[in-house]
């Protein structure tokens, strides 16, 4: 009611971004594995994958790797299409899903240009003891055991830059575990941060830039 509330555009919150140096990525999939362990994602769901590509024609070929977390777009197509506003751009730039509101229509999955969203079909690693006892710690929400009928089963899931870790002052799991130190994480608004500096490097590019989604994940070629 009073003028004390900060303006939404003022961006007092840190604006989280990730830089991935493709020259340093060796395609070891550690990010994928640590992400699965951290976020306890069920079978078939990986927030973070490494796309391996073979470029060129034999014998002039080369292998390339492209790690792909959620891009946390600045104009996210997924948030635009959500009929109930269950997915939205959070204050710190992370695209968030409200699992208690999502109706599971999967329009956002169809609309995501990066294939970064997954539907939770309710499967689990039943062979792992106590897998279902602890639910994913997404956004710091403790959901208790993974039981049928409980969110996020039946809703859409995605990478959150490990928001629950960020809130504790830690880096995302994939950044912390990256063997080649190929990932950098930080505040884009802080001109002295490594990510802010690397973001303006001539090597910097973003995926499918022609779509105007303005991803928060910046690659170095």
């Amino acid at each position: 009611m009073t003028a004390a509330a900060p303006e939404p555009g003022s961006r007092k919150e840190p604006q989280w971004a990730m830089v991935i140096d493709l020259q340093k990525c060796i395609g070891c999939d550690t990010c994928t594995v640590s992400c699965k362990a951290e976020n306890r994602t069920p079978p078939g769901i990986s927030y973070n994958v490494v796309i391996a590509m073979e470029l060129g024609e034999f014998p002039n070929t080369r292998r390339a790797y492209l790690p792909r977390p959620c891009m946390q777009c600045d104009s996210p197509p997924c948030a635009g299409v959500c009929p109930v506003g269950a997915t939205y751009k959070g204050e710190s730039g992370v695209v968030i899903i409200d699992h208690d509101r999502c109706i599971g229509c999967r329009y956002c999955i169809a609309a995501c240009p990066y294939g970064a969203r997954s539907f939770d079909f309710g499967e689990g690693y039943d062979e792992m003891i106590a897998y279902a006892e602890v639910q994913a710690p997404e956004y710091g929400v403790r959901r208790g055991p993974r039981w049928r009928g409980e969110a996020p089963i039946g809703t859409v899931r995605k990478c959150t830059f490990c928001l629950h870790r960020i809130n504790r002052g830690e880096e995302p799991a994939c950044v912390e575990t990256c063997i080649g130190d190929a990932r950098y994480f930080g505040d884009l608004n802080d001109p002295n941060s490594v990510v802010a500096k690397l973001a303006s490097s001539p090597r910097a590019f973003r995926l499918r830039e022609e779509l105007g989604t303005q991803p928060r994940v910046i690659y170095l070629k």
Binding site: V81, P83, I103, R106, F119, G154
Partner: protein, 424 residues
């Protein structure tokens, strides 16, 4: 229960008085078939409810499949049938008046079927109504849910006004008709016709821009996917709605007359066929542009979709269902003198009604099979048994609703049938 049987008795009396009634055995067989299909579908829906979407062959790569294809198929049938009814009630093409109420009933039932398909496709079915509480004005789907609701209410109102006088006429001998007449007494239809014109006039833009153009917009705004992201998409949806709705109506009209052992007005069947042929030609023209532009502009992420459609695992759906059965073969019948034969017109209409299923499947699935980023796994999708059976059951439910309404309500003009006031 007793009210229902009394209504049926009254109805049977009706048919005995007016037209030769339908074969009782055939009718019983028809209802038995529908109930059996619904029971099988019910088991599938139960499995889906217990196991969630894991009972389907959907994945995170191909999140939409047969149910969404059937959803847009039935929205199309509804919008098409409704627009045809407005040719009669708004634009005064009275030569089609015989099928006016049936068009409204078809539109209403199709819309209910469409919404059931959306409902079972939701990962969280129990939150379906919360979609009406929360609203994201940027999302075409959010707008659609509201448009569908308004449209259904409008259809129900129009259907009621179209039948009102006949309900009043039947009120003396049928409790159902008395109850449905909602206390109105007059058998004068002038006021009803005015209401029909007003409601139809409001309904036309709602059906074109809201219901069907809007459903096309759901796909058209998805810039991530080839062949969806085009301003032509909503237009194609509207035209193919006209095609499928007209075809369904022509088919239902001819089949129903045959089943009730009533004469088929061959002129009207031919006129409906001519209309259908015209819509088909426009649809084929749009199809040409829809494919020519991406092909000649060499837009790779669009031509990839066309490759999957034409040469990939869904080629049968494109060449046989969509193009062969759905468009070319019926166009040949309807564009030549063959259309003068009522059975051939019915065949052409049937082919369109079946073929459009392929059109809808091709809209939904191939663009989702192409990975959004090169190197990500490509999708693979073919409906599971649960999806097939539940779809069959839901369609049977729609046919049951239609048949019951057609049996119990004055879907045909009572006065017309008795020969009181012919309209043309």
């Amino acid at each position: 229960m007793s009210a229902l049987t009394r209504d049926e008795a009254a109805l049977r009396l009706d048919h005995e008085q007016t037209a030769p009634g339908p074969n009782r055995l055939m009718r019983a067989g028809w209802y038995l078939l529908l109930v059996t299909l619904m029971a099988a579908g019910g088991i599938a829906v139960l499995q889906r409810t217990v196991n969630g979407l894991a009972a389907t062959n959907l994945t995170s790569t191909t999140p939409w499949g047969a149910w969404i294809a059937f959803y847009i198929y039935f929205v199309g049938l509804s919008a098409g049938a409704f627009l045809l009814s407005s040719l009669i009630y708004v634009f005064g093409m009275t030569r089609f008046e015989q099928v006016g109420r049936m068009a409204l009933l078809t539109a209403l039932v199709s819309m209910i079927v469409a919404l059931v398909f959306v409902l079972i496709d939701l990962g969280r079915m129990e939150r379906a109504l919360s979609a009406l509480v929360h609203f994201n004005w940027l999302s075409p789907l959010a707008w659609e849910m509201r448009f569908y609701l308004i449209y259904i209410l409008l259809l129900a109102a129009e259907f009621w006004f179209a039948m009102r006088a006949d309900l009043v006429r039947r009120a003396a001998r049928s409790r159902l008709a008395r109850w449905l007449s909602l206390g109105s007494r007059s058998t004068d239809t002038a006021q009803d016709h005015r209401m029909l014109r007003v409601l139809g006039t409001i309904g036309v833009p709602i059906a074109i821009f809201g219901v069907h153009g809007g459903t096309g917009t759901i796909f058209a705004i998805v810039k991530a996917r080839g062949m969806w992201f085009s301003a032509l998409t909503p237009i194609v949806f509207i035209v193919s709605a006209l095609v499928s709705g007209t075809a369904l109506l022509a088919l239902l009209y001819i089949l129903r007359q045959k089943a009730l052992r009533r004469p088929v007005d061959s002129r009207m069947a031919a006129d409906l066929g001519k209309l259908l042929g015209g819509f088909l030609l426009v649809d084929l023209g749009l199809l040409l542009y829809e494919y020519l532009v991406p092909l000649l502009s060499m837009a790779p992420h669009e031509t990839e979709v066309l490759h999957v459609m034409m040469e990939g695992p869904y080629a049968w759906s494109f060449w046989i269902l969509q193009l062969g059965i759905g468009m070319v073969a019926p166009a040949i019948i309807l564009m030549t003198r063959l259309r003068e034969s009522v059975p051939l017109t019915a065949l052409a209409a049937l082919m369109v009604v079946v073929g459009i299923v392929g059109v809808r499947f091709n809209i939904v699935v191939p663009p989702l099979v192409i990975p959004t980023l090169r190197g990500l796994p490509a999708g693979q999708y073919f409906p599971s048994a649960v999806e097939w059976w539940s779809s069959a059951g839901i369609i049977a439910m729609g046919l049951l609703l239609f048949s019951l309404a057609a049996d119990l309500l004055p879907v045909d003009d009572d006065a017309h049938e008795i020969g009181g006031t012919a309209h043309d």
